[in-house]
């Protein structure tokens, strides 16, 4: 049996790190990181909320595989993984002598238990389907886990590198929501609800060189201007992601601070109900695509901090295809298409915007203005988040809405005809299935590219932009990620100058 082998040594991590950093890392110091949303519990295996992963993933919890700031998969609790030629068997060689913060040992048995817990029928893991592809698991010894899949899954490794697949101890996992215990470089200290989560350096971390920092505090400040004020006042050191791009604008002019305009996994889209007239008409959707000036949207909404996209795929994710020119801004063409579709005088519609996200409210206002120029007259309705979930996401009572999809590799939602935008395309489903089962990188690129093209051509949703993560920090904070290819704010290699 021919096996392809990916082995990435720890050394490589250090090399990469060395390249990024201009200076030799120093140990010690404490860092206060600000994040807008407070997590709802601290267990990433029980909730997909990004706020949880940002705090605990890669800091307190680790999975078998990690992602680096360039989006590459690197060893986590697994040192190497070997995939069989048929793509069905994965052999993980686990790191030896790894301890949980509570002193429990990590081994193959624990790994197996964690994965089984996620696939269990009583699971509250939000993505049990990630794991249910597993046919069986074997643990020949303490350091080896052999997983056999039912079917080829091109995203299996990617999924193993997400917060849903982190390793919890067999004893003490129940308190994970409020008292997380993992194997990560930092151990949990306390969570002051409504204010902050504190964690300290874990001295028993498997890499004795890391982390550099003694203490990390995640502070939750919801509002952009308060974040800014806190950073300027020195109360916080890092803003994980600036919510209001205008703050980034004013910060970038200040020498004491730096702002990274990197990439993220998220795509902001104008979700369109493909079953609701007139949006069930492809021409109408394409007309809207022509009517949107994506660069202007990025300018008005994000003050330029973002990248226009042409499909449901972030530029930071592998296999990205730039489709932004497919429906380049052209209001005349939009009007013509509308006329063709039977709406020479345009039409009225309602766009429902979730209240909690300022970018979606702003984007909604801007889009309403733009579509107004081609006689698509939008009424804006701001919807409180609970309502959004109920009315729009579940009951699909909407025509248009505006939301950011932050999960990486989530194009699969287009394969589900019952998903809230109700896109139903056999062509896409076939392409996606092929992509998932693609044996080689080239095949993967081809089929994932095809997927992007199909939904772009169908103008399923209004694909607008991928927002920058916009981390901002004091000038002396080193090693912070520029890009956010995964949902985490990994402080493992951050140090203070």
């Amino acid at each position: 049996m021919k096996k392809s082998l990916f082995v990435i040594f720890l050394l490589a991590v250090f090399l990469t790190a060395g390249n990024v950093l201009a200076d030799t890392p120093k140990k010690g110091g404490s860092l206060v990181v600000c994040q807008a949303a407070e997590p709802q519990g601290l267990d990433p295996t029980g909730n997909t909320a990004a706020a949880i992963d940002r705090v605990v993933f890669a800091n307190i919890y680790e999975g078998l595989i990690k992602v680096n700031s360039n989006g590459e998969f690197i060893p986590g609790l697994a040192i190497t993984w070997i995939v069989s030629g048929d793509g069905l068997t994965y052999t993980f060689h686990l790191r030896q002598g790894v301890k949980f913060h509570n002193g429990q040992m990590f081994n193959a048995e624990v790994a197996k238990w964690n994965l089984e817990r996620a696939m269990n029928e009583k699971t509250v893991n939000p993505h049990p389907e990630y794991f249910r592809v597993i046919a069986k698991m074997e643990t020949p010894d303490e350091g080896t886990l052999i997983i056999t899949l039912k079917d080829v899954d091109a995203l299996f490794i990617a999924h193993m590198a997400e917060g849903d697949a982190v390793m919890l101890p067999m004893v003490g996992y129940k308190g994970a929501k409020s008292n997380p215990v993992g194997t990560g470089p930092f151990r949990f200290l306390k969570w002051v609800r409504g204010d902050r989560v504190e964690m300290a350096r874990f001295d028993g971390y498997w890499n004795p060189e890391l982390p550099y920092l003694d203490k990390v505090t995640f502070k939750f400040i919801g509002d952009a201007s308060a974040q800014l004020a806190a950073l300027k006042a020195g109360d916080i050191d890092v803003i994980g992601g600036i919510a209001a791009p205008e703050s980034a604008m004013s910060l970038s002019k200040d020498k004491r601070f730096k702002v990274y305009a990197g990439t993220s996994t998220g795509e902001v889209i104008m979700s369109t109900n493909n079953k609701a007239a007139p949006f069930d008409n492809k021409k109408v959707r394409q007309a809207m695509a022509y009517a949107i000036d994506r660069q202007a949207v990025v300018d008005l909404v994000m003050f330029g901090y973002g990248t226009p996209i042409g499909s449901h795929w972030s530029p930071s994710t592998p296999y990205y295809v730039d489709l932004t020119q497919k429906f380049a801004y052209n209001p005349e063409k939009a009007k013509a298409l509308l006329a063709e579709a039977g709406y020479p005088n345009g039409f009225d519609a309602t766009i429902k915007l979730p209240a909690i996200y300022s970018y979606s409210k702003r984007a909604g206002e801007v889009i309403a203005d733009m579509l107004g120029h081609v006689n698509i007259r939008l009424t804006i309705e701001i919807v409180e988040w609970g309502q959004w979930i109920e009315r729009i996401f579940k009951k699909k009572e909407f025509q248009l809405t505006m939301i950011g999809h932050v999960e990486a590799w989530d194009i699969g939602i287009y394969a589900n005809p019952n998903y809230y935008f109700q896109y139903d395309s056999q062509e896409f489903r076939d392409a996606y299935a092929k992509a998932l089962k693609a044996p080689s990188e080239a095949e993967k690129a081809k089929w994932f590219g095809k997927c992007q093209e199909i939904i772009a051509e169908d103008a399923v949703n209004g694909f607008l932009f991928s927002a920058s993560g916009l981390p901002a920090m004091k000038a002396e904070v080193m090693g912070w990620w520029k890009n956010y290819p995964t949902i985490a704010m990994d402080c493992t290699q951050v140090w203070l100058q």
Binding site: E38, Q40, G41, L42, G46, N47, T48, A49, E121, K122, T123, V124, N125, P126, H127, P128, E129, K177, S178, V192, R193, G194, D195, R196, I221, G222, D223, S225, A226, L228, A229, A230, A233, D235, A355, I356, E384, W385, G386, Q387, I389, E390, R391, F393, K394, H405, E407, D410, I413
Partner: protein
Amino acid sequence: MVRYFIKKLITLVVLLLLVSITVFSVLYVLPGDPAQIILGLNATEETLANLRAELGLDRSFWVQYLGWIGDILSGKGSWSINYDMPVYDLILSRLAVTGPLALMAMLIGIVISVPLGIYAARHQNRPGDMIVMFFTQLGLATPEFWLGILLILLFAVKLGLFSAGGFPGWSVDVWGSLKALLLPAFALGVIRASILTRLTRSSMLDVLREDYVRTARAKGLRERSVVYVHALKNALVPVLTILGLQLGQLLAGAIIIENVYYLPGLGRLVFQAIGQRDLPVVREIVLFMAAAVIIVNFLVDMAYASIDPRIRLE
């Protein structure tokens, strides 16, 4: 007094019961699935059902209501879905922000208003009174959140003396925490002071016209004791009512100013909890807030009675 006390107490309990039922039914019909919000957009139907069962959302209205009331009466309270901790503890930790904020605001309000009100009443229609009345009119017309924003603009953005919001936490920085509450308390307090000043003034004016004030003067009392002993105690009765109403509303109603200053207070908690459909938190906090208003009013009634023998000795 005892009769009066018992009568008021019964009213209090009945009112609380009505409030609890109202709160529960309102939240029962609130659209939005907590499980979906917790698990995110891409969760499977099966996982959702599991979580709903775990949260007890699949049970009937009365089972849920009685369970809830039982938990509250037994002192256990409910459990926050989002924060994974007892709601009581959550309330307590947030009250540590809102409580001092409300009290500081009230204190600022009283300290400004009572002397000003008395001054204005004693100088009725003279320039001093007119100036005071002008400023209170302005105060009444100014939205407190705008005043808050203006204070930020001046003290944080321009002068850099305060931070524009946020709260370091009592355990981290007591002085900093106090400082963080100062501007919002001032914004709240100044607006309250406008109302209270006008009230103190008009109440004082009414009382100063009373026959017994004339009697006190006729007895040869010093003007000071006429005003502060004979008049003030009577004048305070209506002021006290509004004061109580305000304190209750402040405990509950600092939502906007907490949003302006991003304070982790009760108001913000409940505002966010509604969005997150953390129903146990919403329910209990709304009940708590309503109870705060009702209980403060009850205490005011009692304070009233202790000032006014006509009620006390009924």
